[in-house]
Subunit: 196 residues, 2 copies
DNA sequence: GCAAAAACATACCAACTAGTATGTTTTTGA
DNA sequence: TCAAAAACATACTAGTTGGTATGTTTTTGC
């Protein structure tokens, strides 16, 4: 990787971690350049302004990680309901980057930025639509394979599961402990079994 | 009501609306006093600082509205599953204060403030625990009345439903239309029926 | 090897932030 | 009625914000 590219990537990664913990609005450009140890000149050479950097985080960091962590696990599993449960379980319990007290980065940004920044809105919507499509597709396949009842509506079920995931992330922030995830996961299991 | 009390309440209400739309951090004290048409002297006479006002909003505005809008509907209905469905439906579709593009005020504040402000954290946790207790109690009653299967775990089901509510509020922000609420509500109905 | 462009550094600024110091006006209670 | 306290008003400040103007250094391509 070229040095300039590395600088840019470094800014994005450090900024992402700060924003994940502190929120976008309360993470200042000065914060970012302090932790990355680059100067303002470098920052504004790579990004027109702070918002452009924010959108770059979504498109260049969140999007790829969505693919590997949220999409791929749903693609090649034979039983989609097991795949969905395992995915959510992994995200909530095993994933060591996502912290219970800071929630889900995509959800955080949606809450904070979507109502009044069109670029963030668009980038985050892209992200979400991809996840919806994949999960609904997996359930649709499950219907054909006999893993899922034929009268299940894939999109409805997808929206329901994803809402649950985002919502339990909110609970996690309140309780500040992964303990709250377990009753949720048990009931998710029950719900998914009711689709068989 | 005394005039001073009215001033204080006016500040709280206007500030709440601003914060609901713009977020807490990005709503400045100057914003608040501009829309309330009181001066800084009045503001800082009634509140020690901005955070104290924020917590007052939770305790003096959100808490009472929680009781009437989130708690009471769950208390005297004979069928708790119907009561839950109707509650969520009302909140999502009929409630005219809550806007799809701005989500749920309590959820917004939780996302924004909980990880790093202990007072907000505490006040919001109080709020949530009340809702959990009520909903779980209603389901527990339903088990005794035969409206709910005896092997249903009330707390698990409560966490699952509430997570779904908070999560779909996130979706609403992304889609900016109540249309997304309908598939969620349909699947919520399915899920609740599976508890019978 | 060397000019041009890319990459980065430094110093600055105007706007905004929460909060305060010091007033003036209004209300209260004896 | 009248002084004291409550309620509000005005002017200010120190710190922070995103962003820019103007440099210097490093890399690139011929």
């Amino acid at each position: 990787m070229k040095k300039a590219e590395a600088t840019r990537l470094n800014i994005l990664e450090k900024a992402f971690e700060l924003i994940y913990v502190k929120g976008y609005q309360t993470t200042s450009v000065d914060d970012i350049i302090a932790t990355t140890e680059v100067t303002k000149g470098a920052f504004y050479y790579h990004f027109k302004n702070k918002d452009e950097m924010g959108v770059a985080i979504i498109n260049e960091l969140l999007k790829p990680s969505l693919t590997t962590s949220f999409i791929d696990p749903l693609l090649n599993d034979s039983d989609p309901l097991d795949a969905i449960y395992n995915l959510i379980h992994n995200l909530l319990i095993d994933n060591e980057f996502l912290k219970v007290e800071y929630g889900c980065p995509a959800s955080n940004l949606t809450h904070e930025m979507t109502p009044w920044n069109a670029d963030f809105h668009h980038a985050l919507n892209d992200l979400t639509q991809q996840w919806i499509k994949t999960m609904a597709g997996a359930i649709e396949n499950g219907k054909r394979n006999g893993h899922v009842r034929t009268n299940v509506d894939p999109l409805q079920a997808t929206m329901f599961v994803m809402s649950g995931y985002w919502g339990i992330r909110n609970f996690g922030k309140l309780e500040n402990s992964k303990k709250v995830y377990f009753p949720f996961l048990k009931e998710l299991r029950n719900y998914l079994d009711s689709l068989r």
